[in-house]
C-alpha cells in the first residue's frame, strides 16, 4: 500500500489454506504479514505481543470466537484496526461486529481483487480519519 512504511498485519484464521491465501493477497499489496494465528485465543495473544497495524480476524474460530477476540483486543487497544473475515454477512452479525469495534468486514466468497479493494478502501478511510 504505502511503499515507505509497510502496514504490519496479523492474520487470524483457523483454515490453513485461507491463511495462505490472505497472506499472498496482503503481500501483493505491499503489506508485511507479521504473524498468523489459528484460533481466537492465539489471535489476542499475538496481537498484544506483535502490535500490528492491522488484524484480519475470522469470526468462526476454535478456543475463542472472533467476536470475543475482537471485544478483548478493542478493550485493551481502543484504536486497533480490525477487519472481520467471514462467510456470514447477515445484518445481525455485521451490526454486532461494528458495535464491538470492527473497522471492516470482508466476505470470504469475494474474488481476490475485490478482497484487495475492500482492504485498501477501509484502510485508507481509517488512515484519513486518524490523520
Amino acid at each position: 500500500m504505502n511503499a515507505k512504511k509497510k502496514p504490519r498485519v496479523l492474520v487470524a484464521e483457523d483454515e490453513a489454506h485461507v491463511r495462505r491465501l490472505l497472506r499472498s493477497i496482503l503481500e501483493s499489496m505491499n503489506c508485511e504479514v507479521v504473524g498468523e494465528a489459528e484460533n481466537g485465543k492465539d489471535a489476542v495473544t499475538q496481537f498484544l505481543q506483535l502490535k500490528p497495524h492491522m488484524l484480519l480476524l475470522d469470526i468462526n474460530m476454535p478456543l475463542k470466537s472472533g467476536k470475543t477476540a475482537l471485544a478483548e483486543i478493542r478493550k485493551k487497544q481502543p484504536g486497533a484496526f480490525i477487519m472481520m473475515i467471514t462467510s456470514l454477512a447477515d445484518k445481525e452479525t455485521i451490526i454486532d461486529c461494528m458495535q464491538l469495534g470492527a473497522a471492516g468486514y470482508i466476505r470470504k466468497d469475494l474474488p481476490l481483487d475485490e478482497i484487495k479493494t475492500v482492504i485498501k478502501k477501509t484502510w485508507q478511510a481509517y488512515r484519513q480519519a486518524r490523520a
Partner: protein, 55 residues
C-alpha cells in the same frame, strides 16, 4: 434392537445429522448475506463518523 445397534453406528449417524442441520442453518443465514459494497460503504461511513483515537 440389539441387531440394529450392532449394524449401525447410531452415535455417528446422530452426529452426521447434527452436522447437516448446522450446515443447513449456515446456508440459510448466508442467504441473508448483504452485498460487500453495502457493507464496505457502511463500515467506511462508520470510520469517518467516529474517528479512532490514537493509541
Amino acid at each position: 434392537m440389539i441387531k440394529v445397534l450392532e449394524k449401525y453406528d447410531l452415535e455417528a449417524m446422530r452426529r452426521a445429522i447434527a452436522e447437516d442441520i448446522k450446515h443447513q442453518q449456515t446456508d440459510e443465514r448466508q442467504q441473508k448475506n448483504i452485498s460487500q459494497d453495502a457493507i464496505t460503504a457502511l463500515m467506511v461511513e462508520n470510520i469517518k463518523r467516529k474517528p479512532q483515537k490514537h493509541d
